[in-house]
């Protein structure tokens, strides 16, 4: 067996049956890394937006004091503005149609950049929301706090540690869910480097 033998068979290799040409409009992209990431992030963002819509009723469920309405809804407004901003950014990115007509190295570099950008954008959104969410939890439970003054310091340290933990978890979660696609592309790019 050698390449010349194979080339002849290779040139003659055609599909056995006449291909059933799919209806073009019914084809849906789902198997490229960037499409999967966009789909996942879009789903998560819309789920979060849904939760935020429900949050507007929380003060009534929790029966908080009327003087806490202003701080709560101020934080809520900030949360809505941040969420809308990131939703617009994600929608803008998801509308970029990738070109597969560049050479392979450029195409892969573009893909890698897009994946990393989406990951960083998602992390950035989570990092922005975490302190706001934490403050809202404090406001919702402010009436129920009976912490004596000397222990406020401990409470503060606990809150900061909790925030740092959430940030690390978000970083780990995003890298776990989406980082493998970026690593897959990076491995292929490494292969294309000069020897």
């Amino acid at each position: 067996m050698n390449f010349d033998d194979i080339k002849d068979a290779w040139d003659k290799d055609q599909p056995n049956d006449s291909l059933s040409l799919p209806v073009l409009r019914q084809l849906k992209a789902a198997r490229q890394p960037i499409d999967k990431i966009r789909c996942n992030i879009k789903t998560e963002m819309y789920a979060q937006a849904g939760c935020i819509l429900l949050l507007v009723f929380f003060p009534f469920f929790r029966n908080i004091s009327p003087e806490l309405y202003l701080p709560f809804y101020t934080l809520y407004l900030v949360m809505v503005i941040v969420t809308v901003y990131y939703l617009i950014r994600f929608r803008a990115f998801s509308r970029i149609i990738r070109s597969y007509t560049d050479n392979s190295r450029e195409s892969l570099q573009e893909l890698y950049f897009e994946i990393r950008l989406n990951m960083e954008l998602y992390k950035s959104y989570s990092f922005s929301m975490t302190p706001i969410a934490a403050l809202m939890v404090i406001v919702l439970n402010y009436d129920r706090f009976t912490v004596p003054r000397p222990n406020l310091l401990l409470l503060g340290i606990f809150v900061v540690c909790f925030l740092v933990l959430v940030l690390f978890f978000t970083h780990w979660w995003v890298n776990y869910c989406y980082g493998r696609y970026a690593r897959q592309i990076k491995t292929i790019l490494e292969e294309l480097k000069e020897m």
């Binding site: 067996m1 194979i6 290799d13 992209a29 198997r31 597969y100 007509t101 050479n103 190295r105 294309l192």
Partner: protein
């Protein structure tokens, strides 16, 4: 109802369907993944068709889009456990007694063990592209292409030998 642009596109695809067929055989292990990759390549070709200005040959343009799609194609995780389903002849048969189809099936089986870039190199080589043309498709230098292609061919020969054939 199919419009003129779709008709043109579909006739191009039909004329060059061998390209998609070979790439999907090289880059996937199962008939299901093969069908999925085929559909994905057709979709990406269609999406990029508006940008095809006819300056290059349709086949050259098609190589690029199809290979770029295949290189980043995600196989379904649960299907990875299933072995390739090409029908292979008995390994004890002497190579001269094997027909061309069987030799090709073994060749594809060996190629599937290469990395995505190595598969692209072998694909372009088998399609008869020069080193310069391969380099342009991949976005690397001609020297790099020559070195990588030689190493890939050696690796492929080793894989085929390991499977019990002289190459």
């Amino acid at each position: 109802m199919v419009n003129t642009s779709e008709k043109e596109f579909l006739s191009h695809i039909e004329a060059h369907k061998g390209i998609i067929h070979k790439i999907s055989r090289m880059y996937t292990d199962t008939p299901e993944d093969r069908e999925d990759l085929y559909q994905e390549m057709v979709l990406q070709l269609w999406r990029s068709y508006a940008a095809f200005d006819g300056q290059s040959k349709f086949s050259t343009w098609m190589y690029r889009v199809a290979v770029n799609t295949a290189i980043t194609f995600l196989k379904k995780e649960k299907r990875r456990q299933h072995p390739a389903t090409d029908i292979l002849p008995d390994i004890r048969t002497d190579p001269p007694d094997m027909d061309a189809g069987s030799r090709l099936a073994f060749f594809y089986q060996a190629v599937r063990q290469l990395s995505p870039v190595e598969k692209a190199l072998i694909f372009y080589f088998m399609e008869g592209l020069s080193h310069r043309e391969i380099a342009a498709q991949l976005g690397i230098t001609e020297v790099n292409t020559r070195v990588k292609l030689n190493r890939t061919k050696e690796k492929l020969q080793q894989i085929i030998k390991k499977n019990g054939y002289e190459f």
